[in-house]
Symmetry: C2
Subunit: 591 residues, 2 copies
């Protein structure tokens, strides 16, 4: 994985060029590499050996405290000590001022080693970064700084039992208590928050929840829709302006742990707020702007989920590749039949096993290229010359960055199990856990269906289709370069696919009715995603040089994607283009 | 499910017509229905309520005995008492002389209620049926009869740690001990058997293993390949000619339980034979004909696996349908936007949720049609007029019956999780278990890859392509009927698909080299399977009458399959037709 990561970062994405920018001027390719080395080492030593343990020793609640394996404490501590919690932050707040693409690349090692044990740190970093963007100076100093230091960990409290995908139905209520509290306007919260990852644990002395809640209007009623949502800091233990614990427990109570299919090493909680007089929460930003603040970090959060999905896929790919090289079983079938008296051959010699490995390779390496590309765009947005273009590209790519690996690296994990056969179905090998852990990714941080609505319902039509056009122009550049090379056939195939996607987008919206267009939003997103991946594979293939096994492997995976995967878009776009009304129209009673 | 099952059995497949045959003359539609009622009741009362328990209270070995939940004992006892173990057997051995299609339909209820708890009985029935076909009169009397009565349960011991897909590498050795033993020529066995389902338990007083082993040649060496394999009865506790336990333990020892991803309610074991002087085994059939005997029941075994896969899919479909009707979340998007102040709507009103439900419906009901159709062909093979045709059709359909639901009902189970969202990812709902249980089906009883080699490497080319032609002729009959109806468009689509499959078959084999053809055997099987399912859906749609919700539902699922699924075959057949060499040729070092 490391060789591929380095190639994508430094050869393909030219990440070292970022050091020419003022913000990253003190960095060099060497410091970037050193960060990756450190992450790789900690992930290998502190996370990977305990990934199964974190699964089998599920968090448990004794009525007072939630217990996690010691390994989770040790691993998160090592992560915090590495400084990665503040990797992208300014030097003057203790950060490393790293580009997003390097931060993401470093975090990839942890996701691969143990996505569930890595969850605590990722949430904390996201939480604190949000406070850096929207908090008051004192909120940053008290809360964000102590999170970056690893003294306290953080959460994001969005969902409620009755409000998952539909955040406009958030019913947690926040009533003003004291507008003049130095930590920010103080409110009293009451409600329930569901699916809160890292919502309770004893890893750190305090937990800083970021909570969406609604401030009632003058009539005392909650404002319908997302407009009414505000954002609050809710510490588990109350703190003073000097960031000292006051010893007073805030009124946020664990109602129960969720027991999950996978991802078991991260606690996931139902939390009750305000059952004992009202939870203290400090407003972040302005009233009614909670969702905007929360989604400030959405690009990074969705790239993070996508990258986590890729890394689970990668872990399965490597495990099944290793197994396939070692495991003798059967003999190749030839026109002369099989010679049963000859020794069995390693299963990697069977074409179908190679197909399963090559499919995985094309999914996970392609997925990695996608996530790094998007992270690189986040850097363009922050420090580049053409922020408008970066924004346009990110807008259309983020739903793909989140959804595509969630779906296809799940398939990769299933193929990894298949390569191992019966052994893959046992808990003696890691691949079944990867598959279980992976299944969450199509659900959290915006479900597959929500991503598809975002893509087809908003992103590709926004600015008169301008964002889609920006992406198409980028794809076109790759096609033009490829058409001069051995990749001309794939370039033509990609050009046709791009035209198909463009045509389907128009036809989907030709009636102007969202019901018509969006009934097939998921097949549209699948086709869009496969087209994006084909483009990235072609672009990566053009960047590959030489005659090494590594280079041949990259080319083979690119060819695989064009031969076996890209042709799938026809079936998906068929229904989009003709606005197939079957699913929209069917009566519930027929099901 | 029951309404669909009855429709497929009695309206579509005209199962009641079987009672015109001598073997089933004492039956009627009413007795068939009574059997289904009994199975449905026992499955509902004794199996379904304990399916989660069987998963969480995994079998455990205390060093002496393997413990299972009491519920598993009770459920299997109720099953045995129903007489279903001998459902298809002659009256004079205590059987019910039921057609295969009714036996399978009855067993479907148990697979749906708890596929893992149902495993013990299915294996026993298969084991004893095999002995009825190949055993001596005394072997039948002593072993099969007591298995049918539920006094003893049975297993099938094929795989070994080094011989899974490659049975020719079986290394268990059987040496002649006493040719004149009344229970059959007595051998002493030595070796290891892996993945033995129901290989150890205390449900019954004895376990009758059927074991593949090799009798050494005159030179003392094992004969390479499958020719050398023989079949043996290995009772856990030795018995006499009167079927009484002698009190002597046979030398077959549990080496360990496998701890699996799913299917946890069925014990799965590594068994050691002959570590204490040699395991006693009685030869079944002739030396060297073990595999032929074992595969005598292969059609039923593979239909059984396929039907189990369908039923797991069905269970998930019903659970997610129920949830989607109850769960309010979000509001439909219209050209006017969303009215956040209106109440949330049940998620079944969202087009994408309907898509996920309709996809599941098309997979599980289509899969049920496939399995029942194949079971009906088993009846044709046994009691019909045109056994040659039945054999030809079964030959090409069995790999599909085994593989298709294993793949697509896994997708159905994943969609069921997706419909439930975060709740589906928890163990508070049943869908995550269905998905885990299901994942085994692409692995056991011949992996996906093995099924594909069987289909493209043998079945479609056998008899000069005669078996494939027999299937094509059947499909053609449906097309001809449909072309006169509202289904003409689908009929034409199916005709084109059939031609594509036929063309791809020829092109795959046009060089005559198995390496060329078989490199893409799995994509071929996927396309073949989807074409078969489209045919069955069209045939089912033609059998549907009237204007009921039920009828509309069947038509919608058929339309869904043609609109969303059948078009997928293009991408699969592309690589088959051009004998895409990528996977065959890639070097292991490139991966």
């Amino acid at each position: 994985m490391r060789e591929t990561l380095d190639f994508l970062l430094f050869d393909w994405l030219q990440a070292a060029n970022l050091t020419k920018r003022e913000r990253f001027a003190e960095h060099s390719a060497e410091t970037f590499t050193a960060v990756l080395d450190t992450c790789e080492r900690i992930a290998r030593d502190k996370f990977a050996p305990f990934n199964r343990l974190a699964d089998t020793q599920e968090p448990n609640f004794d009525g007072e405290r939630v217990h996690l394996p010691q390994a989770t404490h040790d691993a998160t501590k090592a992560y915090a000590e590495s400084g990665m919690l503040a990797a992208a932050q300014d030097y003057d707040v203790g950060g490393m001022q790293l580009p997003c693409v390097i931060e993401m690349a470093g975090n990839a090692f942890f996701s691969k080693a143990s996505v569930a044990m890595g969850g605590y740190a990722m949430l904390t970093s996201g939480n604190a970064s949000l406070l850096m963007a929207h908090g008051t100076p004192l909120q940053r100093e008290v809360f964000a700084r102590n999170e970056f230091a690893g003294r306290w960990f953080g959460t994001m409290c969005l969902s409620e039992p009755q409000a998952g995908s539909s955040l406009s139905d958030v019913a947690t209520r926040a009533e003003l208590d004291d507008e003049t509290d130095p930590l920010g306007p103080r409110y009293r919260l009451k409600g329930h928050k569901m699916w809160i990852s890292a919502g309770e644990h004893e890893i750190t002395e305090n937990i800083i929840h970021l909570v969406l809640a609604k401030v009632p209007g003058p009539d005392g009623k909650l404002i319908p829709g997302t407009r009414g949502i505000s954002l609050f800091i809710v510490p588990k233990w109350l703190v003073n302006e000097q960031a000292q614990l006051t010893g007073e427990r805030n009124d946020v109570v664990l109602a129960g742990l969720n027991h999950k299919l996978g991802y078991r090493g991260t606690t996931n909680c139902l939390l009750n707020f305000g059952e004992r007089g009202g939870t203290i929460g400090y407003l972040v930003g302005k009233v009614g702007e909670g969702l905007r603040c929360m989604f400030h970090m959405m690009n990074e959060a969705r790239i993070g989920v996508g990258l986590g999905a890729v890394m689970l896929g990668y872990a399965g790919y490597e495990a099944s590749l290793e197994y396939a090289k070692q495991r003798p079983q059967g003999r190749p079938m030839t026109a002369a039949g099989k010679d049963s008296s000859s020794p069995q051959r390693p299963i990697i010699e069977h074409a179908d096993v190679r197909r399963m490995l090559l499919a995985q390779k094309s999914y996970v390496e392609g997925g990695l290229a996608l996530e790094l590309y998007c992270a690189r765009l986040v850097d363009e947005l922050a420090t580049g010359d053409d922020k408008t273009q970066a924004q346009a590209l990110l807008d259309v790519l983020i739903p793909i960055a989140k959804s595509w690996p969630s779906e296809w690296c799940l398939e990769a994990n299933s193929l990894a199990i298949q390569v191992l056969g019966g052994y893959g179905y046992t808990r003696d090998f890691p691949v079944e856990q990867y598959w279980r852990d992976q299944r969450l990714n199509m659900i959290h941080e915006g479900t597959h269906g929500i991503q598809a609505l975002d893509l087809l319902g908003r992103k590709v039509v926004q600015q008169g289709g301008g964002s889609l056009a920006a992406l198409a122009a980028r794809v076109q550049l790759t096609i033009e370069r490829a058409i001069q090379t051995d990749w001309a056939q794939q370039a033509n195939q990609l050009a046709a696919a791009l035209a198909q996607v463009g045509g389907a987008t128009k036809k989907a919206w030709s009636t102007g009715q969202p019901e018509d267009a969006l009934a097939n939003a998921v097949p549209y997103m699948q086709a869009f995603g496969h087209t994006v991946l084909a483009w990235l594979w072609l672009d990566v293939a053009l960047a590959v040089e030489g005659d090494s096994d590594f280079a041949h492997g990259k080319r083979a995976a690119a060819r695989y994607f064009f031969a076996y995967e890209l042709p799938k878009i026809g079936a998906w776009l068929d229904v989009v283009s003709r606005r197939e009304p079957l699913c929209r129209d069917i009566k519930a009673e027929y099901l």
